[in-house]
């Protein structure tokens, strides 16, 4: 298959950046999108030019490292699919494909398609954990009974891989789906209760500090999320934050 690729090129954080066009041919439908990018970069390197920088790691759809806004959608046209799990058979021969980095003030472009997502790390650091007393005999987590439904829902929230597709796809570049998943995975479990109110406050406040936009409940994040994280989590976070503000000191 042959494609025309329109790719965002940006030499560094300070560079203005521009869209550049690359024709590519001899692509098979069984190649993943990232393998297609590898073929492109191989060609660019052989031509003695600077290859397109993009993030990737596990290429199994579980690490959250790959990104790319493909043809106007985060991770491309398929649902519940990361870019690495997107295959070229999802496109038609001769298609023009737009490839852009995640766009958000809180995700500055490092180079080309790679953006700095450390804002997510700082949100986790602000409260996305359970403090454990490591005195030598920590209580076994399995010793505390957890209702099956709660465990399942916590697990569903925990499947968030932190890729940032929610931010990229939100018209407001809001991080609510990510933050609410990270708040919920602990809020649903008994181990998360002692720090529950404190956690939601800290994480929401850090989210605001990072410059993400405000949620307007369009629901685009839920649709584009490769892990199918539900808006239920956002509602839970809204509830918890309200409670923490009303009952807090």
């Amino acid at each position: 298959m042959d494609f025309t690729l329109k790719i965002w090129r940006q030499d560094g954080p300070q560079d203005e950046g521009r869209m550049e066009t690359y024709p590519i041919s001899d692509i098979t439908g069984d190649m993943s999108f990232l393998e297609m990018m590898d073929v492109l970069n191989d060609k660019i390197i052989r031509d003695g030019q600077d290859p397109v920088a993009f993030d990737h790691d596990c290429r199994e759809g579980i690490c959250g490292m790959c990104s790319m806004f493909i043809n106007g959608e985060a991770h491309g046209p398929n649902r519940k699919t990361t870019t690495c799990q997107l295959h070229m058979r999802s496109f038609k021969d001769g298609d023009t494909i737009y490839i852009e980095p995640w766009r958000a003030a809180a995700f500055p472009v490092v180079k080309d398609l790679a953006v700095d997502r450390s804002a997510f790390d700082r949100i986790i650091q602000s409260g996305g954990y359970v403090s454990v007393n490591s005195s030598g005999n920590p209580l076994d987590a399995n010793a505390i009974p957890v209702p099956k439904d709660d465990a399942d829902e916590a697990f569903n929230a925990a499947t968030c891989i932190g890729c940032g597709a929610c931010v990229a796809t939100c018209k407001n570049a809001s991080a609510m789906l990510f933050v609410s998943a990270k708040v919920s995975q602990l809020a649903l479990l008994p181990q998360g209760q002692p720090e529950r109110m404190n956690r939601v406050q800290r994480m929401v406040d850090q989210m605001d500090k990072e410059g993400f936009g405000n949620c307007t409940n369009t629901g685009a994040c839920e649709v584009e999320c490769p892990k199918g994280i539900s808006l239920d989590n956002i509602a839970r976070m809204n509830r918890d934050y309200l409670k923490s503000q009303v009952t807090g000191e």
């Binding site: 929401v204 936009g213 809204n238």
Partner: protein, 235 residues
């Protein structure tokens, strides 16, 4: 408590947006109940309607409610502007290629535009009736017990009477446009308000969603039906 505090946080702005928005939905119900009298108000020359209008502008409890409503409108507006500015700043570089319709509804993506149309409607609407009732020179009407009341009914029907107001058709069109925008604004806004304050439940969310859709269709439709009725029964 965290340093940023509730008034600065993004969620607080959403709570305020939801609270004022849902309060204004209640206002719409009250306003609609009043307007529905216009279907039959002609029978007694508008006496009962005018008495009602006087009650709504003078009774202390209603006055308090009306000040709450003005406040809710202004707060909803100011909050919406702040949120929109912040949201634009959150994405300084736009995408070259966007396909927003693949993942979000039209009304949810255009709340600011719809809200602005509703605001323009509201300003003209208040100038046409609210201002006239409160500060304008309008005819008086004598009730059966001898008290004099402002004849708001005559002002309203004259406004939508093509023989008395050469702009009646334009007024009708703008009124319908305002209601159209209101309907789409509510289509997203009603259920969104519940989501913003965290009211979401596997069993009840579908009911809230349906109620929101029904509300956003029925309320503007009834408001519109009243003016269409007034226009065509006089045309």
């Amino acid at each position: 408590m965290a340093q940023t505090g509730i008034l600065k946080s993004s969620l607080a702005k959403k709570y305020a947006m939801a609270a004022t928005g849902l309060f204004l939905c209640l206002f719409l119900v009250g306003h609609l109940a009043g307007n529905l009298q216009l279907f039959t108000a002609g029978a007694d020359g508008g006496r009962q309607f005018n008495e009602y209008a006087k009650f709504m502008t003078t009774f202390p409890a209603v006055k308090i409610l009306s000040y709450l409503t003005y406040f809710a409108v202004l707060f909803h507006l100011a909050d919406g502007i702040v949120l929109s500015i912040q949201n634009r700043k959150a994405r300084p570089v736009r995408y070259a290629m966007e396909r927003p319709s693949t993942n979000a509804g039209w009304s949810s993506r255009n709340m600011m535009v719809l809200g602005t149309i509703v605001l323009v409607f509201l300003v003209t609407h208040m100038q046409n009736f609210w201002w006239q009732m409160h500060f304008g020179e309008i005819p008086m009407q004598k009730l059966d017990d001898g008290t004099m009341v402002k004849d708001l009914y005559s002002v309203v029907i004259a406004f939508f009477n093509p023989e008395l107001n050469s702009f009646a058709l334009l007024a009708l069109g703008l009124y319908l446009l305002g209601q159209f925008a209101l309907g789409f604004h509510l289509w997203h806004g009603f259920s969104s308000g519940f989501q913003s304050v965290g009211v979401r439940h596997p069993r009840y969310s579908a009911i809230i969603g349906l109620a929101g859709k029904a509300f956003s269709v029925v309320v503007p439709l009834l408001f519109s039906a009243i003016v269409v009725f007034m226009y065509f029964t006089q045309a």
